[in-house]
């Protein structure tokens, strides 16, 4: 108690951090919301929201974005859950985990760039397709390639939380379930999966929110066919310079984010690098 009094007497050292909170956390969000009430000519108006909610283009774009984020999350989950599960049974799970997480330390743009080469007209993927007799296909700039690359980038962020919850699972529950005569599938669906659900939820949250906003991938890999909320925001801010409309979509994205966090139990934070504990 004595210590607290002593240190709290001098709070000057806390000023830079508080300034950061006010200037870079609170102010920008408020400014974004404020900006969403201005049209392109600087008039205070609700027109942006009217346009957004009455325009098929914007609503379809939002639905589309959510749909693609859903597909990306699903693909990531289907690949990551077994990975995390098998990972837990290996002799050196920490080493494997490190190896799975390592690619997140490679610049995202470089990974996207690699796929431009792999999926190109005469690229290695098409060479393989020709080799097995299917023949070359248009791969780059398709919806498939967008989902594939996005899932590729997000897999480590899904594996990590799922692995954490699987490794915390008490194996005696699994043994008990087997001893009581449950089949493998029953053990999985009634015991293992429900008990590791928190990890799955954290993983979904970590993948779904960024998937709504990946604008560089839609440009580099998706060939602008998929427009996500992120792409729309980038377009409005940096191309058409309609900041009001961009901010309105930003507010929609923030609301979507809050909804997802409420559905998946909030609190959990995603770190851009997997290695934080």
């Amino acid at each position: 108690m004595q210590r607290k009094q002593r240190l709290s007497r001098n709070t000057a050292y806390f000023i830079p951090y508080m300034l950061w909170i006010v200037l870079f956390v609170i102010a920008p969000v408020l400014l974004l919301i404020y900006q969403s009430f201005f049209d392109i000519n600087g008039q205070l108006t609700l027109a942006n929201y009217q346009t957004y909610f009455s325009s098929n283009t914007y609503l379809m774009m939002t639905l589309n974005s959510v749909w693609y984020a859903f597909l990306i999350t699903l693909a990531t989950l289907i690949i990551s859950y077994p990975t995390a599960y098998v990972l837990n049974e290996t002799k050196h799970p920490q080493l494997w985990l490190l190896l799975i997480i390592m690619p997140t330390w490679i610049n995202l743009l470089l990974k996207a760039y690699a796929f431009i080469g792999i999926f190109s007209q005469a690229g290695i993927a098409n060479q393989f397709l020709s080799f097995i007799g299917i023949g070359p296909k248009q791969l780059l700039f398709t919806n498939f390639s967008f989902i594939f690359v996005a899932a590729y980038i997000q897999i480590p962020f899904m594996v990590l939380p799922i692995y954490n919850s699987i490794s915390e699972l008490n194996p005696s529950y699994v043994n008990a379930s087997r001893d009581l005569g449950a089949t493998n599938w029953q053990t999985f669906s009634k015991v293992i999966f429900p008990l590791t659900l928190p990890g799955v939820k954290a993983g979904i949250q970590a993948v779904f929110i960024p998937s709504l906003s990946l604008f560089m991938l839609t440009r580099l890999i998706g060939g602008n066919k998929v427009i996500t909320l992120g792409t729309a925001i980038e377009e409005h801010f940096l191309t058409t310079m309609n900041w009001g409309m961009g901010s309105t979509i930003g507010v929609v994205l923030i609301i979507a984010m809050v909804i997802i966090m409420l559905l998946t139990g909030g609190g959990k934070r995603r770190t851009r690098k997997g290695l934080t504990k």
């Binding site: 909170i21 956390v25 080469g117 984010m257």
Partner: protein, 271 residues
């Protein structure tokens, strides 16, 4: 039977592993290929690396990126560490939780939102876009991770350590510089490393606040990649892979050190 199943499981893991690494290896392999596409390997050459080192624009951007990363992570580490100390000193639980929630906002927000809102913020304050705005943004989005890395270390520190130092006549400054900071150093280092990699990797936020004249590596790769394949980027990726490797190894050793440190600390306390 069990041996059979075991093999299948490992096969799956290897498959995931290969898929995760193949594109990265693919990039690096083609950085040594003659010719200018990523389609067929045409024989070994260093020429793309030579091009890379002769590209003065790229070298300048590389140095700018490093400068931004170092400056922003040092400043973010200082502000974040002081912030973590402040959060730890709050007496009311509600203040502490509010501060932690505010701290986490920038960690969960999508990059586009951070970028767009910072762009509005800088424009409103008439801060010119360029080096300064990018540096400020990088400091801003690195602070929360520093706080999250340092705070557990502070909470781990026993209060009697501070009381002892104070009883022995240490003033606030001595307490901080001779007792607290040395103790939480591993956390500070992890925070610094994370901030460094955040800054080196960031694309979306920088893309929004960079303006016209200034560029970082990520932004430059993006604009070059939009124009198609250029094996100079492959050479660049080879170098950046090496850099990432150094950072991972560095981070790993810091973590090793800090867990060893923690073990000795707890052992010492139990005695």
């Amino acid at each position: 039977m069990s041996l059979h199943r075991f093999k299948w499981r490992n096969l799956y893991l290897w498959l995931v592993f290969i898929v995760l690494y193949a594109p990265i290896i693919f990039l690096i392999v083609y950085s040594f290929s003659k010719g200018d596409t990523m389609n067929n390997f045409h024989g070994f050459t260093w020429s793309h690396y030579q091009d890379l080192f002769a590209d003065s624009r790229l070298i300048a951007i590389f140095l700018d990126t490093l400068l931004i990363a170092l400056l922003s992570s040092i400043l973010a580490t200082v502000i974040g560490t002081l912030g973590a100390l402040g959060i730890n000193n709050t007496t009311k639980a509600i203040t502490k939780n509010t501060l932690l929630s505010l701290n986490n906002i920038l960690m969960v927000s999508p990059d586009v939102i951070i970028g767009a809102s910072f762009l509005i913020f800088f424009t409103a304050l008439k801060i010119p876009l360029g080096f300064g705005s990018v540096l400020l943004s990088h400091i801003a989005f690195s602070i929360p991770i520093v706080v999250l890395m340092v705070l557990p270390k502070i909470q781990e520190m026993s209060g009697s350590l501070l009381d002892a130092a104070a009883d022995l006549g240490a003033n606030n400054w001595q307490l901080l510089s001779q007792v607290v900071v040395p103790y939480i150093m591993p956390g500070i280092f992890s925070g610094f490393f994370m901030a460094l990699t955040y800054s080196l990797d960031d694309f979306a936020v920088t893309f929004f606040v960079t303006g016209n004249g200034f560029s970082t590596l990520s932004v430059e790769i993006y604009s070059r990649a939009r124009q198609g394949i250029n094996l100079e980027i492959n050479a660049l990726s080879g170098l950046m892979f090496l850099m990432a490797l150094v950072l991972v190894v560095g981070y790993y050793f810091i973590n090793q050190y800090s867990s060893r440190h923690r073990h000795t600390a707890t052992r010492g306390r139990r005695k």
